[in-house]
């Protein structure tokens, strides 16, 4: 399943780090961030609880870049 989220982050390198953090979240098959459109696209693995995965993903993002937001 795929979902797109709006995000807020200030620098491009931070966006790249967030992308990596979301990718490494269990339950996420793939993730892409476009800094230009400030959008995060997540491909979830089959049968996962999307809300739980996203909560974990946000936590992981906060580790690499404190000043970021994902609008779930």
């Amino acid at each position: 399943m795929k979902k797109t989220y709006d995000i807020e982050v200030d620098c491009a390198n931070c966006a790249a780090k967030m992308e990596e953090a979301v990718k490494n979240t269990p339950g996420v098959a793939d993730a892409t961030i476009s800094f230009m459109t400030l959008k995060l696209k997540v491909v979830f693995e089959d049968g996962v609880d999307v809300d739980a995965v996203m909560a974990q993903a946000i936590e992981n993002c906060k580790v690499v870049e404190d000043d970021c937001q994902i609008f779930v």
Binding site: C11, N13, F35, M36, T37, V64, D67
Partner: protein, 629 residues
């Protein structure tokens, strides 16, 4: 400017004033070092408290190599070494740079968004006899919507009332308005220019052209180019490498010099190391590459060229082989009367009249072209009352009774059956022979015509580095040969079945080098397998064709082959800007790093290498938006 940015601006102004005040004061009053340092801490904290906070949080989370950490270490280090002015100023300039970057990116984001501003905000529908504005999402299929002059057509549909002209520039880049009248299909995203029209919707908003295009363009930035991934990867190694180098620079040379010369000179080396840290931020690179591609894609879409991803825009610059489908791509795909050969005692007009009348009832492309030619010549439609008893002879032609004469129009086989002897016709195309009461009246040749811009477009492609233009067609060899020579094409393959086209493209794909890209250009109808097999699939004339938008990597909204040359030009320019930025940013950074290592760069140069380079790279990247035709 967002409220966040305004806050930063205020902090910049306050700390700048404080800083200048302290510098001036320092000249008049002889402070001791401790008091002076404490004074400088005030503007330093005003401007840098958030950076310090973020750096501290980063350390707690074991994320030490981010730019906040670098700035914190560099400036605290400078304070410790008694370089108070430098420390506060470096932090100040770092924040100025960040603010500029934020503004520049925000502005270009807005510029690009404006280029793609085709999203309709509302639809007008009738409710209890009144016209009300509703969300286009809520309009059901089959609803009649009203589009006033100046408004965007929100949903695809058919005009049921009114005539108007439509501005399709946002969709196709074409500046000549198009006329539309009742009964015609109309595509969302066009702007209604002259008259009020009523449109019966045929699709939901989500399925309408405008939604599909917006979706496509917004997602294009998700498909990242190779260069973009390379830079992200590069940044991941670059920052730690520079940090460890800085650490090594702060420790190893002083120890060596302590052992050799007996004097460590710690201060000097630590300043060099701190300078290193300031230079090391990879943001200039990381921001400018996607920004350039985004600009290029934005520029393309404002010219009616939709690119589905940065990767395709990047690959297009390396295109070396262009494979074209003939019909509808290089030729108009509509049949036209190209020659009229009346028998000796018959006028051209008479011949055309006979043919047009008999073919009147049919919607076959050939019949339509005969009727159109008649309309063009006489300025009037056929008079239906003069013709009666039309019969179609399948695979042969038609006959009918015109003013009491039996008129037959058909191919060679039909004429043979009627036992009419024919002159030889050498023209390319389809010959329609006409008889009246079994007497030969003449022949009309109908063929597909080459698009007016096609030969120029192909020549432009060649001059922009395409090695071979190749044409594939299902037509007979004789027809293909004539078209190929009119176009100036390099190679052509004729009499191909749809499946053969895939095989042809595959054989070209195996012959070429890996880095040479093969592009297939089709009209998106029936050639989906070939479009997806090629490195890059381009579909043209895609206005309103869902299949084409799905199958292709690059979609040309109009059907002008010159758009391909323009797409290539945009692709190449974008890539050149990307390369300029990579070379420029890495070059300046490495250069400054070397200067810093040898003690020839101060903090000011370091700040330039960080924020200055970033700003220049961002400005350069936005040039991609303004590539001209």
């Amino acid at each position: 400017m967002s409220s966040k940015q305004k806050k930063v601006l205020i902090r910049i102004i306050i700390s700048l004033v404080l800083l200048v005040f302290i510098v001036v004061l320092d000249n008049f009053v002889n402070f001791n070092k401790l008091i002076l340092g404490t004074l400088y801490l005030v503007p330093y904290f005003v401007i840098g408290y958030d950076v310090l906070k973020k750096a501290w949080k980063g350390i707690l989370k074991k994320q030490v190599f981010d730019e906040n950490f670098l700035m914190a270490v560099a400036t605290i280090g400078a304070f410790a070494l008694g370089e108070f002015t430098e420390a506060a100023a470096v932090m100040l300039f770092y924040q100025v740079g960040e603010l500029f970057q934020g503004l520049a990116v925000g502005k270009s984001r807005k510029n690009i968004a404006a280029l793609m501003d085709i999203r309709p905000d509302y639809a007008n529908i009738y409710q209890d006899g009144q016209i009300v504005k509703v969300d286009p999402d809520d309009v059901e299929i089959g609803t009649v919507i009203v589009v006033n002059p100046g408004e965007k057509v929100p949903i695809d549909g058919v005009i049921v009332k009114g005539n108007t002209t439509l501005d399709t520039r946002a969709l196709t880049g074409e500046s000549v308005p198009r006329t539309a009248s009742a009964g015609e299909e109309i595509i969302s995203g066009c702007i209604n220019v002259t008259g009020q029209i009523e449109v019966k919707t045929t699709k939901e908003f989500d399925e309408s052209t405008v939604s599909k295009i917006l979706d496509l363009v917004e997602n294009s930035a998700m498909k990242k180019a190779k260069t973009e991934n390379f830079i992200t990867k590069f940044a991941r190694y670059y920052t730690p490498v520079v940090c460890y180098s800085a650490l090594a620079l702060a420790i190893i040379p002083p120890i060596v010099s302590l052992l050799v010369l007996g004097d460590a000179n710690w201060g000097d080396w630590i300043i060099r190391a701190l300078t290193f840290l300031v230079i090391s931020c990879p943001c200039a690179l990381v921001i400018s590459i996607p920004l350039s591609f985004f600009g290029g894609i934005g520029c393309a879409s404002s010219n009616g060229i939709l690119v589905k991803g940065s990767n395709y825009l990047e690959a297009l610059a390396e295109a070396k082989y262009m494979v074209f489908d003939k019909t509808g791509t290089l030729t108009e795909g509509v049949f036209e009367v190209t020659a009229i050969y009346p028998a000796s005692d018959v006028s051209e007009k008479k011949l055309l009249e006979l043919a047009a009348y008999v073919e009147n009832g049919s919607s076959h492309p050939i019949s339509l072209s005969l009727q159109r030619a008649y309309m063009d010549k006489n300025g009037q439609d056929v008079d239906v009352d003069r013709i009666a008893d039309i019969q179609t002879v399948v695979g042969r032609g038609v006959n009918g009774c015109l003013d009491g004469h039996r008129v037959c129009v058909g191919n060679e086989k039909y004429m043979a059956e009627l036992k009419v002897s024919l002159p030889r016709i050498y023209d390319e195309g389809t010959a329609c022979y006409v008889t009246s009461d079994d007497k030969y009246m003449g022949c009309i040749v109908i063929s597909d015509v080459v698009k007016a811009d096609a030969p120029r477009a192909l020549a432009e492609l060649k001059s922009s580095g395409i090695k071979k233009n190749i044409m594939l067609t299902g037509d007979l060899k004789s027809t293909a040969e004539i078209v190929a020579s009119q176009l100036g094409i390099d190679e052509y393959h004729s009499e191909l079945l749809p499946g053969d086209k895939v095989d042809m493209v595959e054989s070209y794909m195996t012959q070429k080098l890996e880095k040479e890209k093969l592009v297939f250009v089709g009209d998106g109808i029936n050639d989906a397998p070939v479009l997806s097999r090629a490195d890059i699939g381009i579909a043209m004339g895609a206005m309103g064709s869902d299949a084409a938008i799905e199958a292709a990597d690059i979609v040309l909204m109009d059907d002008n082959p010159k758009s391909i040359a323009l797409a290539m030009k945009i692709s190449r320019k974008t890539l050149r800007i990307v390369k300029e930025n990579i070379v420029f940013a890495i070059g300046i950074k490495v250069g400054c790093l070397i200067l810093a290592a040898f003690g020839m760069a101060n903090m000011w140069l370091a700040i330039f290498a960080d924020v200055g380079v970033m700003i220049i790279a961002v400005i350069n990247a936005t040039r991609a938006l303004r590539i001209k035709k």
